[in-house]
Symmetry: C2
Subunit: 134 residues, 2 copies
């Protein structure tokens, strides 16, 4: 049994929020977008379909939980939810609050401009997120 | 009760595949990428969270079904699954088979180059998809 270890690039680009039943929640360290990562703590998974059925259901529950939390906190114009993983193989889902005046609108955010790290390491938002996620 | 009507832009850009219990399945008319759209037949929905709980569960089941079908047919290097909707408000989910030698790899496919319509209106792929989806 291999232990779960967060991919190094995901770890570098994001800040810790909390662990849910299945997924590790991280906040991308880019204050341009309220942008969460959900990373199932299952070693070796690349596709959603690599998870067993129960974990696939858990993943969806947690995706929706993160979407609800971001919606409650950020009141975005649109939520973006995506599992891409073309660059980082470790299965991870993006849940992003988008605004009509954000730096990438209406395009997807990946690869747009340079990340702008939070001045406070995201602590204000992370506190609201952890409160919202219970 | 308003009837469901497929968004005009989605209709223009894609070809009909089939209807599942919840979602209308369309093939994007772009032979560069095996690329499905899943559009819940629920008028007025924009976010996944706009669906009721039972439909949210159905949506996930159908997303996974499409992912499995594309994986079986196309044997991609990676699946991309995304609900964005920044340009077309009607709730729709992208399920895309990606390859390391495709026209956008490793970037997301949205907005990359110009769509290349299928010479056969996608009929060969659509037949395989409908067979795979049962």
């Amino acid at each position: 049994m291999v232990d779960f270890e967060l991919d190094k690039r995901l770890a570098t680009d994001s800040l810790p929020v909390t662990d849910l039943a299945l997924g590790r929640v991280r906040l991308m360290n880019d204050r341009r977008f309220p942008w969460l990562l959900l990373v199932p703590r299952r070693p070796g998974c690349v596709e959603v379909l690599d998870l067993d059925d129960a974990d696939q259901e858990r993943l969806w529950t947690e995706i929706r939980l993160l979407a609800e939390a971001l919606r409650a906190i950020s009141a975005p114009d649109k939520l973006n939810i995506a599992a891409l993983g073309n660059q980082v193989a470790q299965l991870h889902v993006h849940v992003i609050a988008r605004f009509r005046n954000d730096a990438a609108w209406p395009a997807p955010i990946w690869g747009v401009g340079k990340p702008e790290p939070y001045p406070d390491e995201g602590q204000a938002l992370i506190e609201r997120l952890t409160a919202q996620l219970g």
